[in-house]
């Protein structure tokens, strides 16, 4: 008994290190008022400066205002999910796949696609509208433009992916009954379907809201006209000041983290509540698929197809097109097009190195990560009562860490903690940061998969005398291979497209394609950035095909994937 308790306690401590460690580091640094090169000196100067600055309130307000995309995304995402699952519109499989594709697309280069379409001065959509004699309506470098980029590339696709499984698991009997009773589709949707999936929608909204508050790259790239735009970009500005205002950055991060951690705890509790509720409802039962009219199904199919084509395929096409422009966005040249951007990028010494760095980081993160998350999920399955609740909270806490703050925390840990110093300058801190960032989603996928697995074989193995580890390695692990592969792909895709988490800790000479793209865009070299972006997008395309195929095999496991909105 004592041994088991010890094991469980150690397990919780191990979970607490990545979950609480960054918070501790950030808190300590926020009270460091020492000068350059001086030892730690306690003080509240940074807190006073941050709390006294008018920008603090304005950046928090802007950050909150930009999350308006979440309710909009929920509405659109639910409509698409309903069309795909309940209406089963023509092309529903393609639509579902497009959402997966968008999920794996690298955001940073895709921003270039939207710039080419909606830049106030040279955007093609603005030019088209201006051709009709109307004023240009779009400005991608505005709060509205930023919301739109998030909404189109991340929020809607991911919320759709999240809600599709919830709709698939819905009992069809009430819907059928309503239709048979003569209710119109809109009434069925509003009075039957929506109330039944409301818990899942609210949960997705909360998870998405947390992530929306943390967003960094899009705001950094498109919000340059307004310096210190949102909290994450203001933190980045403080860190990159000359000299860096680390203590202030940490104090601001701490305030931000407290808000996000509160939301994270709420999310964790809501998740457990929903899990219990779902079990009691006996989801998945139901009769034949409800029949909706052909005209309705076709009309909705056209609408969904148009929406996804405009929001995903169009900017992707623009990204590719931009890579062939001599001067990005400048169509008034004698010679607009060129292949020299491609030859310059592919012929540069840095491209091969970046590609290798990208694949190295992806594999070095995803391979051990998938196994580690599988082990954590298996360990959590053996916890009961308060320990299970504590583990659940600890696993979900990193959900509230913005990538840029996590990156700063990892940098500080690797510079100041004696045991970590030897890892500084290697890719180990990058892997650590990425694993902490993806801990919630990875473990959640594995926990869902374990919960849905028949335990007969594992029980038989244990009765036959196999130990817990042996049972896990020889029985559970092979059974969970599809879920493990899915987690591997999620981690791999996350690693190859990440910028915020690894920006500050990537060792010299180690630059992934996404980091290099970010640097190109930061340096206004859009022509080169679009080439790299296209290459990363094609990599993402391959990953998304694999993930989609696996996702179809995994059924409800997919439900956990979409929570990174």
């Amino acid at each position: 008994m004592r041994g088991i308790l010890g094991w469980r306690s150690a397990f919780l401590v191990l979970l607490a290190v990545p979950a609480l460690g960054p918070v501790g580091v950030i808190l300590a640094q926020s009270f460091d008022t020492s000068g350059l090169g001086e030892p730690f000196r306690f003080g509240v100067g940074a807190w006073r400066a941050v709390l006294g600055a008018p920008e603090t309130l304005s950046t928090f307000t802007t950050s909150l205002l930009l999350t308006v995309r979440v309710p909009a995304g929920l509405a659109i995402g639910f409509a698409i999910a309903w069309a795909v699952v309940r209406l089963r519109v023509p092309g529903h499989q393609v639509f579902e796949y497009l959402c997966w594709f968008a999920y794996f697309l690298p955001t940073v280069p895709m921003v270039s696609g939207w710039v080419l379409l909606m830049d106030r001065d040279f955007g093609l959509l603005n030019a088209a509208v201006a051709g009709l004699g109307l004023p240009a309506p779009f400005d991608i470098r505005s709060p509205g433009g930023i919301v739109w980029v998030h909404l189109s590339l991340q929020t809607v696709p991911l919320l759709t992916i999240l809600m599709i499984p919830a709709l698939r698991l819905l009992d069809r009997t009430p819907e059928d009954a309503a239709l048979v009773a003569g209710a119109r589709p809109a009434r069925v949707l509003g009075r039957v379907v929506l109330p039944l999936v409301a818990p899942a929608i609210l949960l997705a909204g909360l998870a998405s809201w947390i992530k929306a508050l943390e967003a960094f790259e899009v705001e950094q790239l498109l919000g340059e006209r307004v310096a210190s735009f949102v909290v994450s970009t203001r933190i980045y500005g403080m860190v990159s000041s000359e000299p860096p205002r680390m203590a202030e950055a940490m104090a601001l991060s701490m305030i931000f983290l407290l808000l996000l951690l509160g939301l994270g705890l709420l999310y964790s509790r809501a998740l457990r509540w929903r899990g219990q509720g779902a079990a009691n409802r006996g989801e998945g039962s139901g009769g034949a698929r409800p029949s909706y009219g052909t005209l309705l199904r076709r009309s909705v199919s056209v609408a969904v197809g148009l929406y996804l084509a405009i929001t995903i395929l169009l900017p992707f096409g623009m990204l590719v097109m931009g890579s062939f422009m001599k001067l990005f966005g400048f169509f008034a040249l004698d010679q607009v097009w060129t292949t020299s951007n491609w030859s310059r990028v592919l012929g540069s010494a840095s491209f091969g190195a970046s590609l290798r760095a990208t694949l190295t980081l992806g594999l070095a993160t995803a391979l051990p990560g998938a196994l580690l998350f599988g082990l954590i999920a298996a360990g959590m399955a053996r916890l009961r009562g308060p320990q299970a609740a504590a583990a659940s909270v600890l696993v979900w806490l990193p959900w509230a860490f913005p990538g840029i703050i996590l990156g700063v925390a990892i940098l500080e840990v690797s510079l100041t903690f004696p045991g970590m110093r030897m890892l500084h300058g290697t890719i180990a801190p990058l892997i650590l940061g990425l694993l902490i960032r993806d801990l919630p989603i990875g473990v959640h996928v594995m926990r869902n998969a374990l919960a849905e697995t028949d335990s007969t074989m594992a029980d038989a193995a244990r009765i036959s005398g196999a130990g817990w580890l042996r049972t896990f390695l020889r029985i559970s692990l092979p059974l969970q291979m599809p879920a493990l592969t899915l987690v591997f792909l999620i981690l791999f895709a996350g690693a190859i497209r990440d910028v915020g988490t690894i920006l500050l800790v990537a060792p010299p000479g180690f630059q992934t394609l996404s980091l290099q793209t970010f640097n190109y865009i930061s340096n206004s070299q859009f022509e080169m950035a679009t080439v790299l972006g296209t290459i990363v997008a094609l990599l993402a395309l391959a990953v998304s095909v694999l993930a989609h195929l696996l996702g179809r095999r995994l059924g409800s496991v997919r439900s956990a994937v979409g929570t990174r909105a």
């Binding site: 000068g35 350059l36 500005g237 990159s240 510079l415 180690f510 190109y520 206004s524």
Partner: protein, 373 residues
Amino acid sequence: MNTDRFGLIGRRALGAASACLLLLGAIPALAWPDSPSDEWQALVEAATAEGGVTVLANANLGDDFIAAFSADTGVPITLSVGEHGEGRARFYRETETGQATFDAFIGGRSSYELADKGLLTAIAPLLILPEVTDGANWRDGAMPWIDPAKTYLPMPIGYVSAFVLINKDVIDPASVRVWDDLLSPDLAGRIAMHDPTVPGGTGAGASVSLFLAEAKGQAYLETLYGTQFGETTADYRQLVDWVARGTYPVALGTRALDIERYRAEGVDNLAVLNMQDVPGYISGGTSIMAIPASAPNKAAAQVFANWFLSRSGQTAFARAARAPSFRTDVTGGDWPEYLNPEPGRVYINQYDQNWAETVEPALRTVLDDVLSK
């Protein structure tokens, strides 16, 4: 921007192998410098044995810069982006904690305090190439430094900044000759400016504003900001783009790099004007070299420092940065004429530590006051 070397073991193995080959004479003798001393040759061998040099530098330095260093010295080089915020943050934090993962940093005027606190390596004693230490090879008879001790922070590049970019299809260049011409009612709301509030206050917008505060006074700055500026942006390229398209026909705080990129691709309506009354100030761009005291490869850092300040290094750097070197033997490079300081003119050097510590604070107060209105 980076070469494929980040593994410690592979790096050392490469260095050791290169050193062995050098000792065996298997590598052809390098053509640079002309007549290397024994001290220099020993230093290069030591640098090669260390595995090479890692430099945090401008993203615009590319393969040509790497190739030039490798061809001249035979020492492997890793070039990592260090100009942007994350690079600067790393430079500061690693240097002040004594755990640098790089050997040299090339960036803006950012290191005074690190130098004052002894966290940087003194570069002056490391310079052993005669062509570097010979004052005759430098304008004004000596290599410029930005620190008063002339020891830590060399500034080999210097160009005239605060030029005005106009769209000559929209604005007659003859109508903008002196700074007061920018206050013309015809230009009200038609001038774009690099954002002076960029965190850290290190961008061109802040520098130009400080220059105008010093040269023309607070009232001038207030009028400029109050009525003439249409918009500011932190995106350098967007400024040039605005002028090229005529969105804003005049811009302040633009970069020559962007202007020349547009011109090279066929945009022919851009004109750069140096005002005739007060011609601007001298900027070192991102050419200031610093070596952290904790640089892991001391010999490699020393080789790089000597090469960077040599004619060969400055030729490669000036070409990549498209800016004139202070070296007298680096001429006719690939930089525009309007960046060259006029002989006989006296310019304010905003990179000089004395200016930054004695004059700039008061000007910052003026700028803050103007921006708050």
